[in-house]
């Protein structure tokens, strides 16, 4: 089935992105070329649909990705005809196309200067500010990007997407505590987002397993990860990613349960007793096995999981069973 | 207080709730007009007309339950006649349609009564 043009194509695998961008010429042809801006024209022309503009935006993203710059420019022209040159989102999209077409670092520097110029005229232009952060990151200037993003968050602290990007930026620099803090801010803004809970659990797990974590913080990170993964599966039945993380964390905790557990006196969440963790581990194993079985058989109602995730879960399960024999 | 905590732990999806109740309300107002047509054709008067309406709108709820709610709700481990997978209040589900479509019912009832027996 072709992916929907109404959804953001950023995380699609390459094959689907290609399929999506192949739809671009047909969509451009099928819809009218001009959007009328006059009042009389608006009465006679067909009523405009908000989906149309989202479609154009998503088409720009996917055709840039597949290198179809012509289609991207056509889509942009439609958006300009409707919203004008100075619409903030349109400006950001134009910048995006320029970034994609840039051949060398000099051109990128020029685009960066343009962004600075726009921001000096109007420093509340959030889409451009976000592009600037993304461009800095793309050029490898991670700490610059992070500091710019912090400034952006200073005057728009309710932007969950920006907090999430900040967390990812810190993670790229190996700053786990900061990354965890930023991801927690996302959770404050969207407390029921099950994938953010799982993401935070993954961050905690990474922080725990990264070298340099001493005994106390190691335990604390693992306990937090356990808590986050448990919440993510509480919010979402049969959540593959949550169960995967839960199994990983409980497995790690059980493996080094021989070590003496240090009591943290900070009053944080303390690990439950070994029995509970064992039961959690069993639950996660059973659930993962069920998901993998149904998903491989392509049972009706179990086809929503991505193939890569199912493969990873299968690998984890087989690893577990082989190490179980050794034990 | 405890229910508030429970809502925090297991939140309700507002969009789904609205989607479901809108679907059901559309059905109820449509069928209420339909019942008005048949009551008018049958030439029912006073109490028997309202009785007809009550019986048929309960029948609507039952049919809707059997066709839309029961298959998925029972397979997910709910008891029969339990609508809590899709609707918040059970009483609301079974009898809420009565007030919902009454105006439409009376409108078409009187119209068709007049048309047929005039």
């Amino acid at each position: 089935m072709a992916p929907s043009v109404f959804r953001s194509p950023v995380q699609l695998p390459p094959a689907e992105a290609l399929e999506l961008s192949k739809q671009a010429p047909a969509i451009l042809r099928s819809s009218a070329n001009t959007a009328s801006t006059s009042a009389i024209g608006a009465i006679f022309s067909a009523p405009e649909k908000p989906e149309e503009w989202i479609t154009y935006e998503n088409l720009i993203l996917s055709s840039l990705r597949t290198g179809d710059d012509k289609a991207a420019n056509q889509c942009l022209a439609r958006l300009v005809a409707r919203f004008g040159e100075n619409n903030e989102r349109v400006m950001a999209l134009r910048g995006l196309i320029k970034e994609a077409e840039a051949q060398n670092d000099g051109e990128l520097e020029k685009i960066l200067k343009e962004y600075d110029q726009i921001l000096s005229e109007n420093d509340t232009n959030i889409p451009i500010a976000k592009r600037r952060v993304a461009l800095l990151r793309s050029m490898g200037r991670l700490s610059d990007a992070a500091s710019t993003l912090v400034q952006l968050l200073d005057f728009s602290p309710t932007d969950a997407e920006a907090w999430s990007e900040l967390s990812d930026l810190y993670l790229a620099q190996g700053l786990y505590p900061q990354a965890i803090y930023a991801e927690e801010e996302v959770l404050v803004l969207a407390p029921n987002a099950w994938n953010v809970h799982a993401r935070l659990g993954e961050l905690q797990y990474m922080a725990a397993t990264a070298s340099g974590a001493d005994g106390g913080s190691y335990q604390k990170h693992l306990a937090e990860a356990l808590k986050r993964f448990s919440r993510s599966i509480e919010l979402c039945d049969d959540y593959l990613r949550g169960y995967y993380g839960l199994k990983l964390v409980t497995g790690t905790i059980l493996k080094d349960s021989g070590k003496p557990a240090k009591l943290t006196d900070e009053g944080d969440f303390v690990l439950p007793d070994t029995k509970t963790i064992e039961r959690l581990n069993e639950l996660a194993t059973a659930k993962l096995a069920e998901i993998v079985r149904h998903s491989t058989a392509q049972d009706r109602g179990w086809r929503g999981y991505s193939a890569a995730e199912v493969a990873a879960a299968r690998e984890l399960l087989s690893e577990d069973s082989s190490s179980g024999i050794v034990r | 207080m405890s229910s508030e905590i429970e809502l925090q732990i297991a939140p309700i999806v507002q969009e789904s709730l609205m989607h479901n109740s809108r679907t059901f309300q559309n059905l109820q107002s449509l069928t209420a007009s339909l019942f008005g047509v048949s009551a008018g054709i049958l030439g029912l008067e006073s109490y028997s007309g309202f009785l007809f309406y009550i019986i048929f709108s309960l029948l609507t709820s039952v049919l809707f339950y059997i066709i839309r709610v029961a298959p998925t709700s029972i397979s997910s481990g709910k008891k029969p006649l339990d609508t809590s997978r899709y609707f918040l209040g059970a009483v609301d589900f079974w009898t809420g349609g009565l007030m919902n479509g009454l105006a439409g019912f009376i409108l078409t009832w009187t119209l068709f009564y007049g048309l047929v027996s005039a």
């Binding site: 990705r65 | 999806v13 559309n26 059905l27 339909l34 047509v37 054709i41 609507t60 899709y86």
Partner: protein, 144 residues
């Protein structure tokens, strides 16, 4: 599914229209008999109730239309957060089809996925490079 339910509704509608017409004719006949018969006999003009077949036809057709209307209603969505989220994860697009088999337009998958895809921060140059590599790899596989 949608065809069947629409057909059921249409059949019911025809039956109901027929019942309506019959009832109307019946009452017209009654009043005609009352006016013409008043001259011949002095029988009182009692309103004869509707014949049983028309009554049955009306009720059956109402029931048939009701069934058709219930069948065309859109599928419901779970209201408990974990069931709804689980449905999105487990079934994907399949779980959110209309009664005529198309994916709902307002279905956007996991609404919180933008916190991980972050379309406003997309690194388009990296994506282009990755895509070019993917094309090369695919092309290489096909050539072999």
């Amino acid at each position: 599914m949608t065809f069947i339910s629409k057909a059921i509704t249409a059949v019911g509608g025809i039956l109901l229209a027929h019942a309506c017409y019959s009832a109307q004719e019946h009452s017209a006949l009654q009043s005609f008999r009352a006016t013409s018969g008043a001259a011949l006999t002095s029988a009182p003009t009692t309103a004869v109730s509707l014949p049983l077949d028309i009554v049955l036809e009306t009720i059956v057709s109402t029931f048939i239309i009701l069934l058709g209307l219930v069948l065309v209603t859109r599928p419901l969505r779970p209201i408990q957060w974990r069931e709804w989220a689980g449905k999105i994860e487990r079934e994907g697009e399949e779980g959110f089809k209309d009664s005529n088999g198309e994916v709902n337009k307002d279905y956007i998958g996991n609404p919180f996925a933008i916190f991980e895809s972050r379309p406003n921060f997309v690194d388009i140059r990296k994506q282009r490079k990755e895509f070019a590599q993917w094309v090369k790899k695919e092309g290489g596989q096909k050539a072999q």
